[in-house]
Amino acid sequence: MNFIKKTAAASLALVLATTGMAQAETMILASPQVPEGFDGDALKAHTQNVVTQVYENLIGYGKMEVDGHTVLDPNDLRGHLAESWTTSEDGKTWVFKLKEGVMSPFGNELSAEDVAWGWNKSFNQKRTGNFIARVSNVASVEALSKYEVQFNLSAPSAIFLSALTLYVPGIYDTTEVKKHITDADPWALEWMQSNTAGFGAYHLESLRPDDQAVFVANPNYFGDKPFYDKVIYKEIPSEASRVTLLKAGQIQWIDRPSIQKVVDMQADDSVKVERATSRSVAAARMNPSCDVFSDVRVRQAFNYGVDKDALNTAVFAGQADIAKSIVSPIIAGSNQDYFSYDYDPEKAKALLAEAGYPDGIKEPVELLYSDAFWHQEPVAIQVAGMLKKIGLNVVPTRITSSEMRARAAPAVQDMCFFTWEDGPIVLDAVYAMYLMTHSKGVSNRAKYENNDLDVLIDAGRQELDTDKRMSLMNEAQKLWGADAPWILVSYPATFEAMAPNVSGWVYYPDEHERWRELRGD
C-alpha cells in the first residue's frame, strides 16, 4: 500500500498547504452517477440524493431509540425552519412563524417570501411538489410578513405537517435564485440544472458531469455545524469498483449497494453495513377489473400459492422482511395481523375450485415486470414457478419500465398482473393507504376500488385526532387484507455501506442519508 500512502500523504499535504483548512473533513461518496439535475420538482437520476442535503423544510421529525438504533419518530413532528405555528379552528388555515437569522450560503436570510415562492414554483411545474401539495390539500401559500407564512388548505389534512418534512416543495434562497430568472424561464429551472440555493447544511460548489459534484457545508447554517466540511459525490459506475474502494478505505460511503454486495460486505470488517426496514413494499399486484382476478377467492388463492419465505431467501438473500400489511411496520398504525396468507397450496387449490377452477387456470396469465426495480424480474419468475404448482399458467413477461409506469398511470391501469414496489415518502398510515389503496391514489396502479375502504381513508385524511385516525386505518388494513388485491412479498430492506468509523446514520423515508448527521471520528 506504499504508493497509496505516499500519494495520499502528498496530496493531503498539498491540500492543507493550499487551502489552510487544517481541520477540514472530507467525505467521498461513490455513486453510479453524478446527479443529472438539482431541482426537486423535476427528479432526475440522483437528484433526490442531493437535494435532500440542500433544501430543508419547515418541519422535522424527532428521533427515538429502537433496539439500539436511532430512528425517526413519526409521531414527533417539530419545528425545523419554523419556530412555531398556529391553526384555525376548521383546520384549513395554518400560519407558521419562521426562525429568525436562518441564512443561506449566499448570506441571505430566510423569509416568508422564500417559502411562498418555492410552493408557487411547485404549483406551476405540476410535478412532484404539486403532488405533495395535492395530497396534503394545500391550495395556496402566502407571505403575511417577513417571518410569517400562511398555508390555505382546501380541507383539513392530517398529513399536512408530515408533508412539510419533505425536501419538496423546496424552500429556496430567492434573493439568489431570482438573479438567474429570465422571461422565458421565470423559475430559473435552467440555472437549477447545475446550481443550488437553499438554507440547508450543504450547497453545490462545483459540478463536472460524468465525474463529480462537490458540496461544501453552508458556513451560515442555522443548525449544528456538520462534521464534514466537504462531500465529494464521485461517479464510479462499476459497483465492484465502488466496493473495492470502500474496502480499501479510499472512500467513506457508497450509494445503495445491491443485495449481493451487501451479503459480501457484511462479512468484511473493513466495511460497516447499516440496515433498516423499508417503508416500501414489493408485491405482485392483481387487477380486480380483469376477469380472472374479479373473484376475491382467486386473489386469495394466488396469495396462498406463493411461499413468501422462499421468495425472501431466493430473491432477497434472506435480508428482507416478510410483508404482512401494505403499511410498513416503521409507520405508526401498521397492523401486521390482517394479511395472513401463509403458504398453503392445498388451501389455494380448494379456493380455486370454489371459484370455478377445479383444474387450475390453463389460459396463460401474463405476469408483467420491468427493470424499474432490481427485484421485479426474479420475483416474477419465482412467483410464476410457485403458482404453476397449483395449476396456474402464469407467464413472466418483460416490458419497459416506462411502459409499465405509463400503463399504471391513474387514467390507464390496464395491467392485470405485475410486479412493482411502492411506498409512502411520508411516515403516516393514512398517507400510505391513500397513496396505494384509495381509488384515487396515484400508486394504486391496478384499478383496485373498494368504496368502503375509500370512505375509511377519506375520513382518516380529515381526522385530526390521532387515536381515531389509527383506528380508522386499522379497519382499512383489515378490509384491504381480506380483499387480497396484491400478493405482498416483502419490505425490501434499505442498506447503506460506509467506512467503519462513520456514524450517525438514520433512515429517512426518502431513503437518503443526511450528510449533516454523519460523523467520521
Binding site: 443529472e36 458531469p209 460524468d210 464521485k234 469498483s241 480499501a248
Partner: protein, 337 residues
C-alpha cells in the same frame, strides 16, 4: 491520384455512409425498447404529464418526421440536446473525445509497440518456443473478458499490492485539475507547470492503459505473425534467400513488406477497440466518450446515443483516411484509393 482528389473522393463516399449511419442509429434506438419518457416523468407522473413530455420531446410525431428534423439538424452541425442533462450533445462529446483519445493513444500505441515486434519474432521462428509462448499469450489476451481483466487488475495492483492509485477516474480527488488547454490532464499539467496534476493524471493512466494495451496487443501479435509468415514465404523473400542476402537484410525486407498490411490492421483495431474502451472507462470511472455512450444507452437518452454513434462513425472514417495516407507515404507506389 493526387491527395486532394483522394480526399474529395473520400468525402463524397462518406456522405451516403453517414446518412446510412444516422438512419440506422435513429431507427435502432426507437425500436430497441429504449424510452426515456418514464425516466423523465418520475414516479408520480400522471398520464397527462407523460403525454406532455412525449410531446415536448417530439416523440408523438411520426417517425419519418422525427427523422427528417433530426437529419436537418445534423446537417447544420447540431446533434441536439441530451434529454437527461439538457446539455448540448456536441459539447459533451467534444469534452469527452480528448479524454478517450488520450487513453486510446497510449493503450493502442503500447499494444502496437509490444505486439508488432513480438509477432515478427514469433514469425521468424515458427513453432519455436517463443512462438508457442506468444500464441498462448495472445490466446489469453483474446479470450479474457475486458471487464473482468480490469477488475482483477484493480484488485491486484491497487487493493492487494498498493502499487497503483485507486480507480477513481483521471485524477486524484485531492488534486485540482490544471487549466484546460488540450483536455488531457497530463499534457495540460505539463504545459501549465502543474507537476502535481501531471503526476497524478499520469499515475491514474497506468492501469487502464495497461489493460487496453493487453487487449489490443493480443490480436496485433497474432495478425503480425500471420502477415510476416506469409511475406516470408513470398517469392520476393525466397529470391532474396536464393541470392544469399544476409539474414539481417532479409528481415528488413520482411519488415518493409509487412508494414502496410500490419498498419492497415492496426487501423481496423483502433476503430474496433472503441467498444472495449467503454467497458474500461466504466470500470475505471474514466468519464470519457465510451462511458458517456454507455450511460446514454442504459438511460435511453436518444439524442446522446445518436450523437455518440455518429461521432464514432466519423472517427472510423478519419482513421482509415489517415491510414491510407500513411501507407501512401511508406509505399509511394501504392495507389491512394
Amino acid at each position: 491520384m493526387t491527395f486532394q482528389r483522394f480526399l474529395l473522393r473520400r468525402a463524397l463516399m462518406v456522405i451516403p455512409l453517414m446518412i446510412g449511419v444516422v438512419f440506422i442509429t435513429f431507427m435502432l434506438v426507437r425500436i430497441g425498447g429504449l424510452d426515456p419518457v418514464g425516466r423523465l416523468a418520475g414516479p408520480t407522473a400522471t398520464q397527462a404529464e407523460f403525454d406532455s413530455i412525449r410531446n415536448n420531446l417530439g416523440l408523438d410525431q411520426p417517425l419519418w418526421k422525427q427523422f427528417s428534423i433530426y437529419l436537418g439538424n445534423v446537417v447544420r452541425g447540431d446533434l441536439g440536446e441530451s434529454w437527461l442533462s439538457n446539455r448540448s450533445v456536441l459539447t459533451d462529446i467534444k469534452e469527452r473525445a480528448v479524454i478517450s483519445l488520450e487513453l486510446l493513444f497510449w493503450g493502442v500505441g503500447i499494444g502496437a509497440l509490444v505486439g508488432v515486434p513480438v509477432g515478427l519474432r514469433a514469425a521468424f521462428r515458427p513453432n519455436g518456443r517463443f512462438d508457442q509462448f506468444t500464441r498462448v499469450l495472445s490466446l489469453f489476451g483474446f479470450s479474457i473478458p475486458t471487464y473482468w481483466l480490469a477488475l482483477v487488475m484493480i484488485f491486484v495492483f491497487f487493493y492487494l499490492l498498493g502499487w497503483s492509485p485507486p480507480a477513481i477516474g483521471r485524477m486524484s480527488m485531492l488534486v485540482s485539475p490544471p487549466d484546460m488547454i488540450t483536455g488531457s490532464y497530463v499534457i495540460d499539467g505539463l504545459l501549465t507547470a502543474r507537476w502535481d496534476a501531471a503526476w497524478s493524471a499520469a499515475s491514474q493512466l497506468i492501469l487502464p492503459v495497461i489493460c487496453l494495451a493487453i487487449v489490443s496487443a493480443a490480436p496485433i501479435i497474432k495478425q503480425t505473425r500471420a502477415i510476416a509468415i506469409e511475406v516470408l514465404s513470398s517469392d520476393t523473400v525466397r529470391y532474396a534467400h536464393a541470392c544469399g542476402l544476409p539474414e539481417r537484410n532479409v528481415r528488413k525486407l520482411v519488415l518493409r513488406n509487412s508494414a502496410v498490411p500490419i498498419l492497415t490492421y492496426i487501423g481496423t483495431e483502433v476503430t474496433g477497440l472503441v467498444g472495449t474502451m467503454s467497458l474500461i472507462e466504466y470500470v475505471f470511472a474514466w468519464g470519457g466518450l465510451g462511458q458517456y455512450g454507455l450511460n446514454a444507452i442504459i438511460s435511453g437518452d436518444f439524442t446522446a446515443v445518436q450523437g455518440y454513434v455518429l461521432v464514432l462513425a466519423v472517427f472510423s472514417v478519419l482513421v482509415f483516411i489517415v491510414i491510407d495516407f500513411v501507407v501512401y507515404l511508406i509505399e509511394p507506389r501504392s495507389e491512394l484509393s
